[in-house]
Assembly symmetry: C2
Homo-oligomer: 219 residues x 2
């Protein structure tokens, strides 16, 4: 498998499948069909079957998918059958919120270190972690096999932090800063800037411009 190139859209749906499968598993549901998954997740059943079939024949005709087995397989596909360590840079409000979220993640992904360039932040505690100074970034990343970087610094610092992460050997970055990062093509970067999300929502609001009719009455 993985011989065909898998599109990003497919990969992004895998964690969504995984999340609902975990829920089914907790409820001790043994089997699920693409139809049921589709209903719950607002996706087309054919799309779900096709997504999964890229990676193997996980289902059984006439039956559906075994929940536990599919969870195992998707974890393998996502490399979550091993623990993946992440580092967070920027111990502001958002950084602290994400660090705390750590313990909500049921999967094998963990923020194992937090950094900040501001001396007043260094040494403060976020749960079990102590905020470290930027000088220790590279060493910590290498010593702890940290592979993912999460950027929650202000926009003007983001590229600089990204460069440091990359030169320290990080493989992928989740960027919360509202800026487009430049990086070599082998580094995977996902933009997670919610200001973009929020502003684009405004497009879908009813205009209001049309609602006032010539005579001043509201329709």
């Amino acid at each position: 498998m993985k011989s065909e190139k898998i599109s990003e859209a497919v990969v992004r749906r895998l964690p969504i499948y995984l999340r609902y499968l975990n829920e089914l598993n907790k409820r001790e549901v043994a089997t699920v069909s693409s139809h049921e998954l589709g209903q719950k997740l607002d996706l087309n059943p054919a799309q779900i079957r096709k997504d999964l079939a890229y990676f193997g024949d996980f289902g059984r005709k006439g039956i559906g998918y075994d929940v536990s087995y599919l969870i195992e397989k998707i974890r393998q596909i996502l490399n979550l059958d091993q623990q993946i360590n992440a580092v967070l840079v920027g111990a502001g409000n958002l950084g602290m919120a994400l660090s705390n979220y750590n313990f909500y993640l049921k999967e094998n992904m963990k923020i194992v270190a937090v950094f900040d360039s501001k001396p007043v932040k260094v040494g403060t505690h976020i749960n079990t972690l102590t905020v470290q100074p930027m000088e220790e970034l590279s060493e910590t990343i290498q010593a702890n096999k940290i592979r993912i970087g999460i950027i929650t610094v202000p926009d003007f610092e983001a590229q600089n932090v990204a460069d440091m992460l990359i030169s320290s050997g990080i493989e992928a970055i989740l960027n919360f800063a509202p800026t487009i990062l430049k990086a070599p093509s082998h580094i995977r970067i996902h933009a997670a800037d919610f200001t973009t999300d929020l502003l684009s929502l405004a497009y879908y609001l009813e205009d209001g411009k049309d609602e006032i009719i010539d005579d001043g009455q509201v329709k």
Copy 2:
């Protein structure tokens, strides 16, 4: 304009254009070409021209786009030529982080109220806002013409909060909870769940499974 249906992908790029145009404007750059925009934003120039052309002829052949004029036009398209009020539900770490971000948003979008169901949160302050109890949600939304809801409650409460927001007249929702919300089709919902983003990143990590060669040597 707006006669053709505009795809979500196009709309999502508009705030990204806007952000960079604002930066150019601050630097007093008067004019920009699709080529330069494309370079900065990692987008194809033809795509940028096409995106903008859906809404009007904003550029000038041989010259490019007038920065101030294009800012004005994109704001109009996104309904950001008027103030858009938003409400945030869930005053946990993430909610507080977002509320504080408020003042980073240069555009006409403002979180004007924060709610939480936990009595211990109610009455606490986040910047200039006081956390209110859920009982006041509907009234506050209507009294303040709040049109967008931001959900930062735990997953098991999210659907319930969405229902309340919708029945209070909200038009669009930004959902940070890791769950698929069900809503009538005229309500616009964007998922902003970063756990999905983070887990999907793991797919792109080098497997490591291949890196240990038969003789035990690492390649």
